[in-house]
């Protein structure tokens, strides 16, 4: 089971509290994980990655295992610890504003 931590605004939007747990088919990548997340919570479509291009929104970041994975290729495998579910995949809003 993949664990995902959403930022507070998106937890509210999705109507969840705490971590989200997902089943991901096949290789665990940003693309497959986000596809599973949006499949479960369709209201999140367009909030993490752009509808048209599929690219991460500029002020969204992806962290896991103390690494910033934001700039990794969407089809690159995520860390094994994320795929195993021992570490969460963290979606967060970038530090911006005052």
């Amino acid at each position: 089971m993949i664990r995902v931590v959403l930022p507070p605004h998106l937890r509210t939007l999705a109507g969840v509290s705490g971590e989200v747990e997902l089943e991901v088919e096949g290789a665990v990548t940003q693309r497959s994980l986000l596809g599973a997340l949006e499949g479960r919570y369709p209201m999140l479509r367009g909030t993490i990655r752009d509808h048209a291009t599929g690219r991460r929104r500029p002020f969204v970041r992806f962290f896991a295992c103390q690494q910033d994975l934001s700039h990794e290729a969407p089809d690159a495998p995520l860390p094994e610890a994320v795929a195993r579910g021992s570490e969460p995949f963290v979606v967060l809003g970038a530090l911006a504003g005052g």
């Binding site: 605004h9 479509r45 909030t47 929104r57 809003g93 911006a96």
Partner: protein, 371 residues
């Protein structure tokens, strides 16, 4: 007894202010969507408990929320605004071509007759329509593609389509306005468009009387007289008596003819309201005194309305979508400020009271008069 529901969009959420027809005691509810920018909310004239809201942040983009119970509960609907075809470019601030990029929805205009049909004015400027209650959106691309689009430039706030007026006498006629391109009209339900800017004069652009390029801030009409339009431009208050074919200035003796909102009295089609702001570089009231100006003659003769409004040290602004009227008699007039106050007048502007004083900066105010 009838009731009033004021829908307030702010930088950090939406609020509803409700009162009975006496408009004396107000109930303030919110924030809804706390922490998100709510550019605009508007109820369906055909089903008032159907309300649409534009919700966005720089982090997570655009959402559209819909309520079917007058704002007590909400559900996110469709948020995919995809320009038709290959959208090409408009001009950027420095005059270079810039690709059309969706940023946010500035204004939602529900159909006068069908609660499931709603129009959205977006940045970068385009008009979208949904016919399924906001689930899916289709661009009315004839506006962006009518010919002048590549020459449009953003105003300081972005290249936004901020005004959508539906003609109650002719369901095929729609007016829109874009900063800073100007005003446009469709006579075929949004399929084809043409600029309607003759008479506008903007010394800030290379050709002050150009067909497009004018920074129109807001247009208003009275539903009983849809061929008469009132415009607050970047500078100048303007009037058209021929559905935008020509415009003439009616700024008259205003202390400043710069401002953002303009509104029409619910029962007197020649009574109009503006909120003069000192200048394009000083977005606050002249002399630090917040005054609404009213003309009872369709322009040129203006009277200040200051009773109940701060008359010293006031440096707020009133944004283009932040003024509205109710349909009671006497007409109620409402506006919100960037300082978080929402003011109401129950006597057509003679006297004002703050319904609430410390909201986040107010982006929009709409009013529903309920049975």
């Amino acid at each position: 007894m009838s009731g009033i529901r004021v829908l307030v969009g702010t930088r950090k959420g939406a609020f509803t202010l409700t009162a009975d027809g006496r408009r004396r005691s107000w109930r303030v509810e919110g924030p809804h969507f706390a922490g998100w920018e709510i550019f605009h909310l508007k109820g369906s004239p055909a089903r008032p408990d159907r309300i649409y809201a534009s919700q966005s942040t720089g982090w997570f983009g655009q959402l559209i929320q819909r309520s079917d119970d007058g704002g007590r509960s909400w559900e996110p609907v469709g948020n995919e605004f995809r320009y038709a075809g290959v959208p090409g470019t408009h001009q950027w601030y420095d005059g270079t071509p810039h690709p059309w990029e969706f940023a946010r929805v500035w204004h939602l205009e529900p159909s006068l007759h069908d609660p499931d049909t709603v129009y959205a004015g977006v940045e970068d400027a385009a008009l979208f329509r949904s016919s399924d209650g906001g689930k899916t959106w289709q661009e009315l691309s004839g506006l962006r593609e009518h010919g002048s689009g590549p020459s449009w430039q953003p105003g300081a706030g972005g290249m936004c389509l901020h005004t959508i007026l539906l003609d109650p006498a002719d369901p095929r006629r729609i007016f829109t306005a874009i900063s800073s391109a100007g005003a446009f009209r469709s006579d075929d339900a949004g399929e084809t468009w043409r600029p309607i800017n003759r008479g506008l004069v903007s010394p800030q652009i290379p050709d002050p009387t150009a067909e497009v390029g004018h920074c129109v801030h807001r247009i208003a009409m009275h539903p009983s007289r849809p061929n008469v339009l009132f415009m607050q431009k970047h500078w100048d208050v303007m009037r058209s008596d021929d559905a935008g074919e020509s415009w003439r200035e009616v700024s008259g003796g205003l202390p400043s003819d710069f401002g953002f909102p303009i509104e029409v009295h619910a029962h007197e089609p020649d009574t109009i309201y503006v909120v003069p702001i000192k200048s394009d570089s000083e977005h606050y009231p002249p002399d630090g005194r917040l005054r609404v100006y009213r003309s009872r003659s369709g322009g040129n003769e203006w009277e200040p309305l200051a009773k109940g409004l701060p008359q010293e040290h006031c440096y707020v602004n009133v944004l283009r979508d932040a003024m509205a009227v109710d349909a009671l008699d006497p007409c109620g007039v409402y506006f919100g400020t960037t300082g978080g106050q929402v003011y109401a007048s129950c006597d057509a502007g003679d006297r004002w009271d703050a319904i609430v004083r410390d909201l986040p900066p107010v982006l929009s105010v709409e009013v529903q008069t309920l049975p």
